[in-house]
Assembly symmetry: C2
Homo-oligomer: 145 residues x 2
DNA sequence: ATTTTTGCAAACCTTTTGCATGGAA
DNA sequence: TTCCATGCAAAAGGTTTGCAAAAAT
């Protein structure tokens, strides 16, 4: 059995399966590393895929809501996205090639409880992003992008 | 002995102590909760403080470099800042009033090592932001901003 | 037939930059 | 006196929106 595709998930969630959405789903599924909205817009333009800027942004919103894609805030302040599984997790992002790997909860849940007790806050959500260099890039001696 | 002020730290770092910088330092030190660049610009305009937009952005850069202020990426995608101590730490941010409290390392260092072993990445930096409601807001029954 | 989705272009908002002036050291 | 820093206004990015046309259900 194949892994469910982004397109499948869109359909299952009741979104119409339009050509632009299929195109973007394929683009994203095949993307290496993280990408920006503008990466998608430029690819669409260059390869004449016929997907407009507004559609790219609107689709990224939908995909983000469904948890199929996650928005990263890079240390540079740029916004990038990576495809991912729709479950709570965190990413280790390679600062050379931009690829991201998911890691599990890592005990942050318990940590969260400890912080609640220590500060009196009620914690709703958190965001953890880890940046470093992946094994491939390290081996290849690539610098930070 | 008083806590060193933002102005002190600027001077110690070799930056010139200009009127706009003193003004911004005071504004930031007295700010409740997080603020955006535009909050500072608007305050300057409204109160005729004579600090221009460019200077606000340039100063926030300096203060961020010195670690006197930290840039937050709110879940909404907005960029906000909070004053803080220049040491590695994380913030618990109140989603009602925007105030932030610092928390220590929380064992993330060890976690980082575990992730390196599990993924093969060499982790350089990370960003952890926790969002929730502070005791005051919870008590007052305030909703999420 | 109905409702969603799209592309385009313009609008918007935030952040950055060029440059002549002003101020700190 | 020498640079650093500032304000202004324009430019540059990135994202959103209004709307009529096109496509999915």
């Amino acid at each position: 059995m194949d892994a469910p595709t982004i397109t499948d998930a869109l359909g299952a969630a009741g979104y119409r399966l339009t050509a632009p959405r299929r195109t973007l789903a394929a683009l994203i599924a095949g993307w290496r590393g993280h990408f920006t909205a503008d990466d998608l817009v430029r690819t669409s333009t260059r390869r004449r895929l016929g997907v407009g800027r507004a559609t790219v942004f609107r689709s990224l919103d939908v995909l983000t809501d469904l948890g199929l894609v996650e928005r990263l805030d890079l240390p540079s302040g740029e916004h990038a996205y990576v495809a991912c599984e729709p479950a709570h997790h965190h990413h280790v992002v390679c600062s050379s090639c931009g690829r991201a790997q998911e890691v599990g909860d890592l005990g942050l849940g318990e940590m969260s409880g400890a912080i609640e007790r220590a500060t009196g806050y009620r914690i709703d959500t958190h965001r953890l992003e880890l940046f470093g260099q992946c094994p491939d890039c390290r081996r290849a001696g690539r610098g930070t992008a």
